[in-house]
Symmetry: C2
Subunit: 423 residues, 2 copies
């Protein structure tokens, strides 16, 4: 459904922002003077807290070999007995800084005193510039206020506080049984330009046991957040966290996982759609019998190809680039393409089949109109942006499993956002 203005869309967003039972949240902003750069800077702090500690929580972290301090701390606390909540800051990622882990731990310990709870029951999450140190003093000063501000109701203040250059707040909610699952996300790519962090926080009042919750999260993340790509860079700080208050009766495991998967899919799509500088979202479907790892690699490689991305940006149905990018990845993996059983569709139009391209002047014109129609123009299309995406379908062989991926084009705005931010 599309809305005429961003305001109208935001009004709609509030209808899905209600915290599940047993959750509180709080958010505020500070001003500080960074040690690394002249002038003032702003940072948002926010807090998601359970009314009671829970042992039913789980998290997936970045596999980047150069992880931030919050990821190092989070990985350890994953094996802890129980958890109470998570403190999030934007602006500085706390990565690659001597003393970064101690900075985070010190802040959490102090915050725990104001709640009160055990310091080990709090997780940190940060996004922003790599190599800068957290402004610990300025952050400490507002911790009492952050704790005092906790209330039930809407997650919207937190969904907005975690944003950097995301173009809209990302909130999704699914009602299941007598409870609900609520998720918010901070977008990946073309974001706070020192990195492209994805932060996802999922809250539910439905009771789910820890081990089950963790395996469901892991499966859902691998099929949703791990299949979106904006610029191919996995950040040092990516994390997805799930917390269950357990106040509502459990639903069947299948039913819960289905809802969790649907929630993650929607948030993942929101992340791509809200990337600044995205003029087209690309939805790629590959049907193949090849091993999953190969198909996922090929799909992401295709969506990350600068030649494919710039063609889409230019509304140019330059379909040779799609085949070339696919062949590049598969060739390097030692896989031959059976071109006789390869077929490719763009916007539902067949462009390759039976061992050759199926193109003519008329089709090329149609494809070009199709690409233009999938680009985002708020004056024409309303909000939320990118309800329509460029659909690419590739059948590698006659049958097989179906995989879906989301990506974006490569625009002048992307370069502006990422080249000019700090200069």
């Amino acid at each position: 459904m599309e809305y005429k203005s961003k305001e109208a869309y935001y009004q709609h967003l509030t209808t899905r922002a209600a915290l599940p039972d047993g959750f509180l949240c709080s958010a505020l902003q500070i001003e500080f003077i960074p040690a690394e750069k002249p002038g003032k800077a702003k940072m948002n702090l926010s807090l998601i807290l359970l009314e009671e500690e829970t042992r039913n929580f789980g998290a997936c972290f970045t596999s980047n070999s150069f992880p931030g301090a919050p990821v190092l701390i989070g990985r350890k606390r994953l094996s802890g007995e129980s958890i109470r909540g998570v403190m999030i800051n934007n602006k500085i990622a706390n990565v690659g800084v001597s003393g970064g882990v101690d900075d985070s731990l010190g802040l959490l310990a102090e915050l725990a005193g104001h709640i009160p709870c055990a310091p080990e029951a709090l997780l940190p999450a940060s996004t922003g510039i790599i190599g800068w140190r957290l402004p610990v003093k300025a952050m400490r000063a507002v911790l009492p206020g952050l704790a005092a501000g906790l209330k039930p109701g809407s997650i919207l203040p937190v969904a907005e506080a975690v944003m950097t250059t995301d173009t809209f707040a990302k909130i999704r909610k699914i009602n299941v049984g007598s409870g609900s699952i609520l998720g918010i996300a901070k977008g990946a790519g073309m974001i706070e330009p020192n990195l492209a962090t994805m932060l996802v926080f999922i809250m539910t009042d439905l009771h789910v046991e820890r081990e089950e919750l963790r395996s469901m999260l892991s499966r859902c993340v691998s099929r949703t957040f791990n299949r979106i790509t904006i610029d191919g860079d996995q950040s040092t700080s990516d994390m997805a966290l799930v917390l269950s208050s357990g106040l509502k009766d459990p639903v069947g495991a299948n039913k819960f996982e289905e809802a969790l998967f649907s929630l993650c899919s929607k948030l993942a799509a929101d992340i791509v759609r809200s990337g600044e500088g995205v003029a087209h979202v690309v939805h790629l479907k590959i049907v193949s019998e090849l091993p999953e790892e190969l198909v996922v690699g090929a799909g992401k490689n295709l969506l990350n190809s600068p030649l494919v991305k710039t063609a889409v940006y230019g509304n140019d149905p330059n379909v040779g680039r799609i085949l070339s990018a696919l062949g590049d990845y598969l060739g390097n993996s030692g896989v031959a393409i059976d071109t006789k059983n390869l077929s490719v569709h763009l916007g539902g139009i067949e462009i390759y089949a039976n061992g050759g391209f199926r193109l003519d002047r008329n089709k090329e014109e149609k494809l070009s109109y199709y690409l233009k129609d999938c680009s985002f123009d708020p004056a024409v299309k309303g909000y939320p942006q990118h309800e329509r995406s460029v659909e690419v379908e590739i059948f590698l062989g006659k049958e097989g499993k179906s995989y879906e991926f989301l990506g974006a084009d490569l625009s002048y705005e992307y370069i502006r956002e990422n080249a000019e931010y700090r200069s």
Copy 2:
């Protein structure tokens, strides 16, 4: 050495353009009307020919799973008894077209009649748009002229004929013993925007046996052309060909391979430097004890990171992105980084050591000046472009083998070139 104008640089180029003994060449241009698009188009045809057939030749081809017709033909002819030469066309790559192989074979057979030689002794090479069919009729009409135009002397006409949007012709020559090795290249990336083909033709009058020549070519290609990257896309038509006329006495194998490696290094650097839209060339050195495959993967991934590339374009010493891109690749490969023994330099300035960034306001300013100084401004810097490159050095551990890579930044011009070409 830098020249004030492009003309002065071209004058200098002619000093290294002399064909080795036993080689002839020819080039001409045709106009034709493509079946796929209204209006006229231009295509260059060229021919490199040995005076006598040789069994001492070798080639490396793209590993793309969607190879063009010339690659399919070339791979077969590699096992043939001997070779006489190669016919090259730009504008259309002859990829993904039903009948493409027959088109190429027919043209070679007809050309062979005009030389005369056995049709199997000729190789095809094509670069340009994927999915279009060769204008066989228009090409056939000029084959007698192409054969008649063969002469010894300068390779420059061919080096220019194979160009598309390359900003300068690429010719390198090395004298060894009583003979020489001459190489020309058509650049990769940001080129004829349907793909980013690299074509390399190397000619020598020094006698080298086939098997030895082939293993030397393979080793040199893997350490030079396979370590450059502009946009990470390996084309459907990449090839590197070496031909020996054997008219001059052999030099030692080591001596020849050293010269061949040096020639390939220089041509590879020329390819990156002549990419349209390249504002900075990036020269990356990694010292590591990790397996070669991992280091090569990490190096290329770093140079392909859009976040790193845009930062370099913006003269922004956003060093966190370098570490994040490195950690992304190594993490996905299951390799932990020992940050204590990691050190990173940018332009000779230490930016990371002993487990933390080594940055301050003064250093950041220096780094920003350094990046500006490495960008290309013909009015100030003269030709050839990019004599200076951005030097990044990464020591992964205390010691190890040294690997070198060349890449480029990501500029507005890249997007313009690749998004707007066909629209």
